[in-house]
Every structure is written in structure tokens, then in C-alpha cells.
Amino acid sequence: MGAVLQVVLVAVGSPLLVGMMRQVRARLEGRAGAGIGQPWRDLRKLVRKEPIAPDGTGWVFRAAPLLLAGTVLVVAAVVPLVSTTSPLDEVADLFAVVALLALGSVALALGALDTSTAFGGMGASREMIVLALVEPTILLSVFALSVRVGTTNLGTIVTSAVADPLAVISPASLLAAAALAIVTIAETGRIPVDNPSTHLELTMIHEAMVLEYAGPDLALIEWASAMRLSVLLGLLTSLFAPWGIATGNAGLLALLLAAVVVIAKVALLGALLAAGEVFMAKLRLFRIPELLAGSFLMALLAVAASFFLA
């Protein structure tokens, strides 16, 4: 019930989230903006267009968008956004969620390599490097979060955060939140790690991988990227600000209320992220490891704090 609601919410809402973030950015830049519904218009148009099989590509190229979208949908069903009791909670824990998201990236990188263009290879290479360097931070943040509750299953972690709201401002939790926020930015390809609206191929990470995709394939990729962003933002809010999430056997009304609250929280976080991007420039590719080393440091300190200050 909750899981179905979550998947529908993420599937329908994430293009709107992207539209909202673009709108915030446009307003801060003094522009009028295309409106919140624009990403949906783009997607509608893309699925109506013709799919293209570039010369020399095969099943890997075609399967990549499907796998990317599939992994995000599974994650959307597992992660507690609306309700902490998901029937899939026993299926995948936080590690599995992280690994599933990585699987999506890998699929896209292989799809890009399959095109045999230089830009595809470049994007894939960079994406994999960011992924490899992000991994320690994520797992250590998971470590810090799970020490307190003795499990890595998301339902339990979030439930305990609901039960003890003051624990959220503990150093361990704050440091882990900061680390995970940087990771979220890196994983979703936002400024300062990657610029989603760049036209310059040499600066691209994510965009370079999708240069060959057209029509419905591209629609799937854009949709999946939007879902990935909203799932990760939703996960951040659920882990560190779980107020309003439905616990236990909540009724339909409670679920709807929780859905409204989570939409508000994710929208707020998204707006903050978009506003922050206005103030920042993209980092040079070889400065990104420094940023990620910083986030690793914070995650490590989070673990240390969770043990030594406990």
C-alpha cells in the first residue's frame, strides 16, 4: 500500500520536482522560467519521437535505460518515504539500495561505452570514477547511521529517528547528513560535481553518456534521473528529518498526510539545492576527489562520533 503510493508518487512527482528546481533557478537568475510542468511536456514529446539505433550498438545500448529506470523504481519501493513499513523492507537494506543505484549507473556507463564514441567513453570513465570515490562515504555514513540502531534496514533506522527526534542534532547525525548531502549531489550529477545543463561535451559527466540516446530511450533516462534525484532527496529527509512519516499500520488518511508532508520536504530541499547551485560554479574534474575526500572525512568522523560520544 505504502510502497505502491511511494512508487506512484516518485514516478509522477519527480519530473515536477525537476521542473520546480529549474523554476527556482530561473527566478533567481531573473528569468520567467518554463513552468513546473515543462519536464513532463518534454517527456511526453520524447516518447512520441522515433527511437534510434546508432550504427554498431546492440542489446547493451538498448537495455541500459530500462535497467536504469528499473533500479530506481525498485529503490523507490524500498526506501521509506511515506511509510516506514514497506513489504519490501525485508528484501533490501541500505547497502542494497546503494548497490542498486550503482547498478543503474553501471548500466548507463556500459550503454555509453557500447556506442564507441569518444564522448560516451569519456562520460562512462568519469561517471565510474565518481562512483568509485563516492562509495566509501556512502558506506561509512550507513555505518554511522546503523550503529545506533543495530541494523542497516531502512524501516528500523527511520523508525528510531522518529522515536528520538533529538538524536538528529547529535554530531554523528549532522556529520553523516553533511556527508550524504555531498554524496547525493555527486550521485545525481548536480553542481558543483556536474552541470546538468551544460552544452560543452568536455565538461560533461552524465550528459556525455546520453549523447546518443533519442526518443523514448532518452525519455526513460531523463525520467530515471529525475526519479533518482527525488528518491535520494527523499531518503535524506527520511533519515534526518522523518517528521510526519507514517509508522506502523497507518490508515489511508495517515498515508496521504505523510505523502503531503514528504512532498513538501523534498520540494523544500530541492529548492534549497537549486538556490545553492546559483551561487556555485562547477568544480574542475580533478578537484572533485577533494570534495569527496572531504565528505569521506565527515563520514568517518560521524562513525567516530557515534562511537566515542555515545
Partner: protein
């Protein structure tokens, strides 16, 4: 004199203390990350505020007016005067960046992580002596001490080295307040004067050096030796 003062419940005291310590640590670590010297000075000022806040929180919790006053004084010195002096030195020396530290930034951050773990491990016996929320934050001070030393060793620009030295000084002050709730006022004043003097000397030196050599890269100082 304590009756009139506002009392701090432990449920609020511990998070506030942790928050101040966290800010203290984070600003210390960020010094390693930033290259822009102006940003480094800003971070140092922020750390001064965190330190002052920490001492004030301790003072309010222990209902010690003198401690609160010392805290405010420390804040004024370390978040106000010292950064002001350094900024002046910076302007006099031309704004600059830490272009190529001896150890690159990503590695520095990883080293800081290891230093932090080391500090935690080393401070355990100390904490076991009297496990209060305040002493539990001693590893943080120790970490900043080590990080400050590391900055002193690996950064090339004179100003960042001074910041490294001041980080160590901040950390020592913090340790003193956390473990014994403060050194006597006189000692604190004395140390602060010393530090102030050091920075003044440094400022004069930078100006002179700039006049003579046109830069403050410490590696170039080696030429004086030859």
C-alpha cells in the same frame, strides 16, 4: 551571584556543547580543504566564534559569570582582532592562494581522517578519568591540535602557517576549558597577549618581506639561508 542566572538543563546543554564542538572541528578541517587564503582566515574567525560559544555554554551551564566573560573575551580576540590583523596582512601581501601545498588537498583530508581516529584512540584514557560530556569532546580538541600541526608542516604560505599555529592554540585553549573548566584568567590573558604579539610580529615581517622579496612563499625564504 548564581541565583539570578539562567540555568541550562542537561538535555539542552549536551546538544549545544556537541554542536559547538562540531563547528569547531569542522572549521578546523575546512582549513585543510580551502585554498583561498581569505577563506582560510574566515574559517579561522568562525572557529573563534565556535570556541567562544563553547566557553559561554560551559560558563552558563556551570553558572560561572567569569567564565562567560572570558568566553566573550576569547571570542572578541579570536573571531575579531586576530582575523582582522590577518586580513590586513593579506591585503598588504596581496590576496593569494595556497597553490601547491606540500601534501595535496585530497590526501591532506584523508590524513586528517586518520589523525582524528588517532586522537580519539589516544584520548580514551583521559575520558575514562571523568566521563562528562565536556571531557568527551577532548578528542575533538586533540584532532584540531594535530590538524593545526599538519597545516603548519604542509602549507607553504606564511599566512596559512600562522593559521595552523593559531589552530593549535585554539585547540589547547579548548582542551584547557573542557578538562578543568578554564585556566585562570591571568594565564589566559597572558597567552592571548603572546599570540597577539606573534601575529603582530608576523604582520610586520610579512610587510617587510613583501617589500624585500615580493612574496610570502616560505620555500623562497630558504634562499636567505644560502
Amino acid at each position: 551571584m548564581t541565583e539570578t542566572m539562567f540555568t541550562l538543563p542537561p538535555s539542552l546543554y549536551v546538544p549545544l556543547l556537541d554542536l559547538a564542538c562540531g563547528a569547531f572541528l569542522l572549521t578546523g578541517m575546512m582549513v585543510l580543504w580551502r585554498r583561498d587564503l581569505a577563506a582560510i582566515v574566515r574559517l579561522f574567525a568562525l572557529q573563534g566564534i565556535a570556541l567562544a560559544a563553547l566557553i559561554v555554554v560551559l560558563g552558563v551551564y556551570e553558572q560561572d559569570v567569569e567564565l562567560v566573560a572570558v568566553g566573550l573575551g576569547v571570542g572578541a580576540l579570536r573571531a575579531g582582532l586576530l582575523p582582522y590583523l590577518m586580513r590586513r596582512a593579506l591585503i598588504a601581501g596581496g590576496a593569494g592562494r595556497e597553490v601547491r601545498p606540500v601534501v595535496n588537498v585530497a590526501t591532506s583530508l584523508l590524513v586528517a581522517a586518520v589523525l582524528a581516529m588517532l586522537a580519539y584512540a589516544v584520548a580514551q584514557p583521559l575520558i575514562r578519568l571523568s566521563p562528562t560530556p565536556a571531557t568527551q569532546a577532548v578528542p575533538i580538541a586533540l584532532t584540531v591540535l594535530l590538524v593545526g600541526f599538519f597545516v603548519l608542516v604542509t602549507r607553504r604560505r606564511a599566512l596559512s602557517q600562522v593559521v595552523g599555529f593559531l589552530l593549535m592554540d585554539n585547540a589547547i585553549t579548548m582542551t584547557a576549558f573542557l578538562t578543568t573548566s578554564g585556566v585562570p584568567l591571568v594565564v589566559e590573558l597572558g597567552i592571548s597577549m603572546d599570540v597577539l604579539l606573534a601575529v603582530l610580529v608576523f604582520q610586520v615581517l610579512t610587510t617587510r618581506m613583501r617589500a624585500a622579496f615580493g612574496g610570502t612563499d616560505l620555500d623562497e625564504l630558504r634562499e636567505l639561508h644560502d
